[in-house]
């Protein structure tokens, strides 16, 4: 098949694409839903089969697509023997599960949802085994955790289901996070995130000092996913899921993802003592421990769950041994276990479905009532126990053979003995599954009278068992697949082997015999053993897990509550402290160059300004409880800052600062009209000292930083020279600051006027909501808390402002027009015009002025922003990018030659927005005053006779 690689992304994508179908098709009935769940799976399976011959010939199919090459994240898929084995298992068993679930789920269960989740999971799983890029693999890996969460918690009404789903997600998700870190380290060592590259870098990876951390983190992901000790506890709790899920996720596929990854990484990670001791020991402990626990579980699914954990441990141990032939055994057992265990889970589901219980103590004698199920379950259990002529026997025999050759930290008998013990318990619980469920007398107290299910329900397990028998009798059938996947695992160093039943009188045979007879013996002694088992206290994993989760939740709550307790003053403190800490860290961690700039002399005027600023600030902080005084001092500070800008060659800034200052003070005065005039003492002396200490430290730090910066030249070449050089040539203006605002960095300015407009609209909306709420009602009954002036609108002021209005507007226009070449511009002109308007408001009252105002401020803001954006868009018609400005010179007699620039139009937008925003903000405040009972005067000036502050 030419270019079969193109099938790979399709195979991975089909389940995802098909996932919506069953959810939709459930409207057409349950059969339609199941059929549409099976269709994408079947299609993907067929494509896989088309790819199979070339893979069996030893080719590695590949598909490459660059997604985010800068991150090394490529959508690269590959299909080799290992991928083929797993993809075959996932899609093949997926088909059988789809069939099985159709009959398993009851009418009350939302079947469409189930199939959708199942397909999502299947897609994620297929993605893992086909990925050639480890970042892509990680994405699929996390998707399996998420989709399995949905599947385990499918029966939302069952608390066990929800808890089990949560536990599974916590444990596997945590492992997944660790694995991300590990994979990133691995990719970093190897210099590529592509598996095909990583797999060739064994020496580089194993000699890296980061090998151990990467190994530990990756194994953390594998062990949690594959339920290895001490993370094994989530799997039995995940059994609250519907049985098809248990059969699919928790025996055949998801729990094998960890094994898959260990096998995938085997060529580069294995072979070191670290790998051997960590992986094989974990596997061995898991295998024996879980087998022992499984024997004493009465719940059929719990028994199978612990048995799965045990078998996963077996494969982990084989992978841990690090020898090539052990890897072959591991691959072979993965195949065998998937077939017989999925079948066994399905029989457990059948029993549960028919007898309405899966408690072994309430079952027995089922061989007469459910003969078909009995045959399937017996053959499956015997395969699990490792009986000859069944597939489980072959791989278990290979495993035992390998342990004989294993020396673990000195003694060479420890591993074989433990492995035999594990096999012995495995045989015991397998036999218990047969004898305690199907053996014995027929009872008359089953919760429901059991009988064999419909064909569709037992067809799947029967097919799987048939495969197990076929492999058991004719191992050569499985040999090509095992060979080609073992070839991939061992990185091409395939040992010579044949899968066969009879190896002669080997030690492994004796161990098998011991295990089987011992297992039978254990079953006979089950009752007394169970009494002992139940009498011995054991740590319960769920209790420990819940305690850990509880402790973590508590710690998180404590941290959040401490940092985020609803007291804003604390946030401010924490924030200041954090910024200071970060600054200190940066300061201490970096290096500061030598002083390169000489200090400039300070003339007397500067010194006077400094004294003024410092005095005002100090007095303001000391007397900040007197709010009017503080406000006046703030005005002085702002003025001094403006003067500073004048002196330090920033005329534009000075103009802006002084006009903003005026508007701000007016705004604060208006607000203070309603607010309390004094600030009471709230905090203790200790707290004020603490805040003061932090504030002074912060001030010192900023002062030090400023001084350090001012006495040194730029560390990097500055881009300012570019602006200076191109301002006139490219922007057509000589005031570089204005040209930067409307031209070079016009996009910034565009964003800023939008922000300003939004701020004004927020203020407007806030006022509305306050006035409509309890605040407005309260305000209606509000009286001024201080004596009001007798003449609200003094004659002098009214006349003065009227005269000044045209002059102020002319100044505004002048400042605006000259802005491009001399200090000025839209921002400043807008502020000046706003002040001119506010003066009218102050003189005759807001309502009086508003009644004579023709333009609405909302419209003004909108027009401003629209003009600015239209100017920007205009550049498109010239074939230039957004906001590219253009200019030319025009001569109109009798005027001098003057310049017209599109930047001027843009600046008009800025101007309008600024005027509108400032006025809308002040206007909103005046609404509050009117609600508070301020009457609207008919004449521009009036005299209030009731000057005692009481209202009528």
């Amino acid at each position: 098949m030419e270019n079969a690689g193109v099938f790979l992304p399709v195979i991975a994508a089909l389940p995802f694409l098909g996932a919506l179908l069953p959810g939709i098709m459930i409207q057409a009935g349950r059969n339609a839903s199941a059929a549409f769940a099976a269709a994408p799976t079947l299609l993907a399976f067929i494509m896989l089969i088309i790819c199979t011959p070339s893979v069996l010939r030893g080719e590695v199919l590949q598909f490459q697509f660059e997604w985010l090459p800068a991150l090394g994240l490529n959508v690269n898929f590959m299909l080799d023997g290992l991928g083929l084995l797993f993809a075959g298992l996932i899609l093949g068993i997926g088909l059988l599960i789809t069939l099985y679930a159709r009959f398993y789920l009851s009418r009350e269960d939302p079947m469409g949802q189930f199939y959708t989740y199942l397909l999502l999971f299947q897609g994620a799983m297929t993605g893992i085994v086909l990925s050639d890029n480890i970042l892509l693999l990680l994405i699929f890996w996390e998707l399996t955790s998420l989709s399995s969460f949905l599947l385990i918690g499918y029966w939302k009404h069952l608390p066990e289901g929800r808890q089990g789903a949560r536990m599974a997600l916590t444990v596997t998700g945590m492992g997944g996070l660790a694995m991300i870190a590990g994979m990133l380290i691995l990719g970093d060592i190897a210099g590529s995130y592509d598996l095909s590259v990583i797999l060739t870098r064994k020496e580089a990876i194993q000699s890296s000092p980061l090998y151990l951390p990467a190994l530990l983190l990756i194994l953390m992901g594998c062990f949690t996913k594959s339920a290895q000790f001490p993370f094994h506890f989530w799997l039995p709790h995940a059994m609250a899921a519907p049985t098809p899920v248990s059969a699919y996720l928790h025996s055949a596929t998801m729990v094998k993802a960890g094994l898959f990854l260990m096998a995938r990484m085997w060529p580069v990670l294995s072979g070191t003592p670290e790998w051997f001791y960590i992986v094989s020991t974990t596997g061995l402990i898991t295998m024996v421990l879980a087998a022992v626990i499984a024997l004493f579980k009465d719940d059929l699914k719990a028994l199978l769950a612990f048995s799965t954990v045990s078998h996963l441990g077996l494969v982990t141990m084989l992978l841990g041994l690090g020898t090539n032939i052990a890897a072959v055994a591991a691959v072979f057992h993965i195949l065998n276990h998937a077939t017989f265990k999925a079948a066994l889970f399905m029989t457990a589901g059948i029993i549960d479905h028919e007898a309405h219980t899966r408690d072994i103590k309430r079952l027995g004698g089922l061989r007469h009532l459910m003969p078909v199920t009995f045959v399937i379950a017996t053959l499956g259990a015997l395969s699990m126990a490792g009986f000859p002529l069944l597939s489980g026997f072959l791989s278990k025999e290979m495993m035992l053979e390998q342990t004989v050759h294993t020396v673990w930290a000195g003694p060479d008998y420890a591993v074989p003995i433990l492995a035999t013990l594990g096999a012995l318990f495995s045989a015991a619980y397998s036999l218990r599954y047969i004898f305690h469920v199907f053996g014995g007398e027929v009872r008359d107290d089953y919760p429901s009278k059991p009988h064999d299910p419909a064909f569709g329900m037992w067809a799947g397990p029967a097919l799987l068992i048939a495969i197990a028998i076929l492999i058991g009798i004719l191992p050569a059938v499985a040999e090509p697949l095992v060979k080609i996947s073992a070839y991939a695992v061992t990185g091409g160093n395939l040992p010579y082997f044949h899968l066969k039943i009879w190896h002669g009188l080997t030690p492994a045979l004796f161990m098998s015999v011991i295990a089987l007879t011992g297992g039978a013996g254990l079953l006979v002694l089950h009752r007394p053993l169970e009494r002992v088992w139940n009498a011995v206290p054991r740590p319960e994993a769920k209790v420990i897990f819940d305690a850990l989760v509880g402790a973590a939740t508590k710690a998180a709550h404590w941290l959040t509550d401490t940092l985020h307790n609803g007291r804003m003053s604390r946030y401010a403190f924490v924030f200041a402290l954090t910024v200071l800490g970060a600054g200190a860290f940066a300061w201490l961690g970096g290096e500061i160059g030598p002083r390169t700039r000489a200090l400039q002399p300070a003339p007397l005027a500067v010194l006077v300004g400094w004294i003024l600023l410092v005095t005002c600030t100090t007095v303001m902080v000391s007397y900040h409880r007197h709010r009017f005084l503080a406000l006046v001092l703030m005005g002085v500070i702002g003025l001094t800052v403006s003067l500073g800008f004048v002196y330090l060659s920033a005329p534009d800034l000075a103009l802006t600062q002084i006009s903003v200052e005026v508007v701000t003070i007016i705004l604060l005065l208006l607000a203070l009209n309603f607010l309390p005039k004094r600030t009471p003492v709230d905090s203790s002396l200790a707290r004020r000292v603490r805040d003061g200490a932090l504030a002074i430290t912060g001030g010192l730090a900023v002062a030090g930083l400023s001084f350090a910066m001012l006495t040194r030249d730029f560390a990097l070449p500055t881009i300012s020279d570019y602006h200076l050089v191109n301002s006139y040539k490219g922007g057509g203006g000589t005031n570089v600051v204005n040209v930067i605002l409307v031209d070079f960095r016009g996009f910034d300015t565009f964003g800023e006027i939008i922000v300003l407009g939004i701020a004004a609209l927020v203020i407007f909306a806030l006022t509305r909501s306050v006035l409509d709420g309890p605040g407005g009602r309260w305000l209606a009954g509000w009286g001024p808390d201080a004596d009001e002036a007798g003449d609200r609108h003094p004659v002098m002021m009214v006349i003065a402002t009227r005269v000044m209005m045209p002059i102020a507007l002319m100044v505004g226009a002048y400042i605006f027009l000259r802005g491009h070449n001399m200090p000025g511009g839209g921002f400043i002109a807008g502020l000046i015009v706003a002040i001119a308007l506010v003066m009218q408001y102050m003189a005759s009252g807001f309502a009086w002025a508003e009644a004579r105002q023709r333009i609405r401020y909302h419209a003004m803001i909108a027009t401003g922003v629209l003009i600015a954006s239209a100017t920007g868009v205009g550049a498109w018609f010239n074939g230039r990018p957004f906001l590219t400005s253009d200019f030319g010179y025009v001569t109109l007699p009798p005027l001098e030659k003057f310049e017209l620039a599109t930047a001027m139009l843009f600046d008009t937008g800025v101007f309008l927005t600024v005027v509108g925003a400032v006025m809308l903000a002040l206007d909103s405040l005046s609404r509050m005053a009117r609600r508070a009972g301020e009457t609207v005067n008919i004449h521009p000036m009036d005299i209030n006779l009731g000057r005692n502050g009481k209202k009528d």
């Binding site: 609803g566 060659s649 800034l653 508007v663 001030g699 500055t718 600051v737 605002l741 300003l756 203020i763």
Partner: protein, 116 residues
Amino acid sequence: MELLFASAVGILTAAGLYLVMRQRTFPVILGISLLSYAVNLFLFASGRLAVNMPPVLLKGVEDFTDPLPQALVLTAIVISFGMTAVVVMLSLGAYLSARSDRIDLNDTEKTGDTRQ
């Protein structure tokens, strides 16, 4: 002059920080304004200090101060006005609705328990 400038920025920062950590809205607003001055001055200073060198291209003038920080600070001044206005309205609205200008949600020293 650099020393005077740096110390002025430092004093404004310290005063602003102290006021921001108060428990009533008005001093906090004043504190934010002082911090805005400090931050704007600091940003402005990143172009270094220069006397009599405005960035206006006039004939016969060779030396100009750095125009870029000035342009950035200019918009920053206008934006801080917008911010101050919003904060003033927020505090005014809160005061009118709650009859208190405290900024802390729960005045008890005991933390937590807001969730229950």
